[in-house]
Point group: D2
Chain length 316, copies 4
Amino acid sequence: MPSSQSRARYAYLGPAGTFTEAALRQVASPEEAQYLPQAGVVAALEAVRSGDADFAVVPIENSVEGGVSATLDTLAGGESLALLREMLVPVSFVLAGRPGTRLEDVRRVATHPHAWAQCRRWTARELPEAVHVPATSTAAAGALLAEGTTQFEAALVSPLTADLYGLETIAEHVADTESAVTRFVLVGRPGRLPEPTGADKTTLVVHLPSNKAGALLEMLEQFAVRGVNLSRIESRPIGDSIGRYSFSIDAEGHIAEERVAEALMGLHRMCPFVKFLGSYPRLDGTPPEIWEGASDEAFREARAWVTSLVPPPTGT
Amino acid sequence: MPSSQSRARYAYLGPAGTFTEAALRQVASPEEAQYLPQAGVVAALEAVRSGDADFAVVPIENSVEGGVSATLDTLAGGESLALLREMLVPVSFVLAGRPGTRLEDVRRVATHPHAWAQCRRWTARELPEAVHVPATSTAAAGALLAEGTTQFEAALVSPLTADLYGLETIAEHVADTESAVTRFVLVGRPGRLPEPTGADKTTLVVHLPSNKAGALLEMLEQFAVRGVNLSRIESRPIGDSIGRYSFSIDAEGHIAEERVAEALMGLHRMCPFVKFLGSYPRLDGTPPEIWEGASDEAFREARAWVTSLVPPPTGT
Amino acid sequence: MPSSQSRARYAYLGPAGTFTEAALRQVASPEEAQYLPQAGVVAALEAVRSGDADFAVVPIENSVEGGVSATLDTLAGGESLALLREMLVPVSFVLAGRPGTRLEDVRRVATHPHAWAQCRRWTARELPEAVHVPATSTAAAGALLAEGTTQFEAALVSPLTADLYGLETIAEHVADTESAVTRFVLVGRPGRLPEPTGADKTTLVVHLPSNKAGALLEMLEQFAVRGVNLSRIESRPIGDSIGRYSFSIDAEGHIAEERVAEALMGLHRMCPFVKFLGSYPRLDGTPPEIWEGASDEAFREARAWVTSLVPPPTGT
Amino acid sequence: MPSSQSRARYAYLGPAGTFTEAALRQVASPEEAQYLPQAGVVAALEAVRSGDADFAVVPIENSVEGGVSATLDTLAGGESLALLREMLVPVSFVLAGRPGTRLEDVRRVATHPHAWAQCRRWTARELPEAVHVPATSTAAAGALLAEGTTQFEAALVSPLTADLYGLETIAEHVADTESAVTRFVLVGRPGRLPEPTGADKTTLVVHLPSNKAGALLEMLEQFAVRGVNLSRIESRPIGDSIGRYSFSIDAEGHIAEERVAEALMGLHRMCPFVKFLGSYPRLDGTPPEIWEGASDEAFREARAWVTSLVPPPTGT
């Protein structure tokens, strides 16, 4: 095991057993790295900004609930941070209780509000009378339940959490969508840009110049005209008044690729606010479909052609 | 006071003192109507579907956090419901405690996760060590605090809630954004369409045929080409896999207006799923800017012109 | 042979032997119809307007030279006329002279300016010193040459004209483009609209509201958003000042089809001038590729859906 | 007067008295330059290609008839030529005859077909029986008439031509459009690019990758997304088969400006054929309206921003 001094420090949403920890394990084992559990996503990201951690692992998108607003907002505001890598964790829930608890005993169920939302149909059907007790994380709900002094009888937690805290599984596969996954990102300080791999993603925050429908159309055309596809686009209110939106975008490609760089230049020219959060490899390794005219070579040829038409100024 | 029999029944997110109740009071006073507090937004909407309530009042959008996902998802799925009216409630929070509590005593703060998010900066500055205890509503946090047996020392609640439960205000104006507002809607069963007023809003849920950037562009052009502006557009994952999105849209205008009706026809033809949630008056009464060619009269003239060019089939 | 009284009268660009006569023969033989040769395209079209002819046959587009401006302008202005059918005639030229003429004798060549343009490369190569003598038609050039008193030694004419006037072929296949064709149209008075066949064409004249690039984009989107393809688009200056353009357009489909009708309505609403010149069968019988959402059935379903959402006004 | 050796040689459509000569006089007086009259536009342009002339002056666009196809086609094909300057000449026609000719004597009128087209309405009204005798230029028609042996009684010519050949004016102001103008260009060999003035024009020939309506939309978006307006766009068939079009375009701006250069790069990437014909000052000196984000400075800032995000590869 490397010494504590030399091991990289990873801030993440704890306690032990969270889905976030499962994502962190994909990056570095507890033997290789220092795990620094935090009370929330904001704290994890701020730990990187303050230098208390080298990296943070945070959820950015859930296939059921959408963008994780605390993550998106914290990345969008404040000092720049850089996304370095993405990780996917399948979402799987069990209803767990202290040993001996039966389904018919359950009247209050603790869990994180996102987890509650993802099991909404199951609970409505099997526990129509049950009340939701919000917890800061599914793992925290499990930990409290294990302590034995809570006002709730059961918790919706990951199978890992149930094991970790010695809880008994009352019901399995309780998530409404079996294929649900959460996407996590590894976040560091800016200045290190992962090398292009040919199958990359670029994450951006963009504010529109106005709230007209036309402004969104024009923003999308900045991508379309350069042959850049988007794999995610989400709007969030800017927060100053109802009607102005910030867009969180994943574009297919790497900023070191010409078509992406030119699209970013276009956004920079037309939009009052564009924040580059990083270019990093796609987890699935699928290269984007790029039409011939959007390849780096096509851009270089086009630039060479225009340059050949403009003689250098006389006298220089 | 009308008899309980004849008074309309309104389901809403309770208990007494929530922001939702403040919105409901804009629609009907407790004397005129039966107030039916519910445990959540889903329960309030389902009460209308089941016939247990005539109407529901639910939050649909917050100027800081964006769309309320439970409301949007419940409206998008299941039996149709109709939006009939919108209401705005300013968001204002105080940090409240039992009498005698001082700021330096506070280590745990109960409130709804959305409220916690809206006071993020204030708590990070004034209570950097404090832990968030999630509650089902701000009013519920206040009620629990008043009971006196909680494991938290303070709650972020509305001034109304603090009053209602006899709590003492520790700090005022703790919301990060002073101008924050929440938009609520009055929801009923379909079949009653508010009359067009000239300043209306139409709310839709639309799924795109594919997750290409081009598909979103084409969907927006269905509005643009008919001169219909959008006052809100929000994406949410459909939930079947990462990458497919559902759009929640407010368009300016009423379905009884030609340009809106034709845009809806266009969406219906191109998109696999379009749900009409209602046309209803804008609270601010501001009529949209409609260019000449998008007026009802322009549509009628254009239709008359085309009809004049196509002689009726011979033999009729 | 029908009596002169009952036979339909066809005005066309004469004299005998023109390509236009070849197009007319595709419509009606000289036995079935009265052929009324005219001095020009304008005269042929005006003969229909005045009632002196029932129909006119005129060239509308040449695969080398583009739109025939006299035809397009005469159709665009003045009393409405209706396009009823299209005919294609292959363009083939020979260099013809009086018997005994050799290529080296030729210093002046008579022909219509369009024919001269279509043989530009051949004459530049084989007769670099030859001067063009403009004629009103290729057939007229041939006829004058046969008279024997002209100041030119040869004419570029169709093989038919060479035969008809007893000229000798000096060189064959002199057109620069072997596959060149001219498209002709049969024109009548409005009020008779050919039935839709499933493979039709709609011809329009459209003026843009402004000379901004954006105006052309918006006009094209009126077609694109309804799934209507264009098979021809040509700009011509409106003539009032440099910079304003009129567009001559062939759209795929028939005005009796929903997607075409709605696109025409859109043009009527946004453009200061739209003239419908006719919907008629495509000569090649190729049905357009229509995506599912642009079929008549998709339009009817979409209309029925919108109608179902708008309850009829109370009291009616 | 400079010696013939040192005087620049200008090829143009002769003979003396043509509108083209009037345009040439705006560039260089007969004292300063050698005037080389040619039989046609093609010959004038080829004289520059062959080195027989230094420059050519040719008509490129007429406010009534549109693009001059011989000019556009000759510029589009073959060895590159460069547009250096534009000139406008008002179009004004008189009906001229030999001394003593009266309007009622006129049965045949000689003139260039474009001139005939521009006086179409006047001749139809005043000389409904008159036949058009095509001439190679209006000046040639005047010259032939002055010779006295022609088979026509009158010619439509410029007032200058009537004077030059001693003809008598039978009727003045016979052009249908009083404000008609013809635009001429000064053409040289490539390699000399006029300096940007802030009010320039860039002329291009572009072929579309397909004949779908969408292809034209995409081509226009290459301009729109960079904030480049078009002052002229004209389609002409490519000539290989009906349905494929070449576009002749005047864009506002100079290739040395960033937004124009990037738009040209975009065209080069998407289109099978793009020919740059020149960037040169607008005659009217009107600078284009450029929105803030399309200025050269905005492009430079955007490029600097993107560059700052991409650290140089390690090891360099």
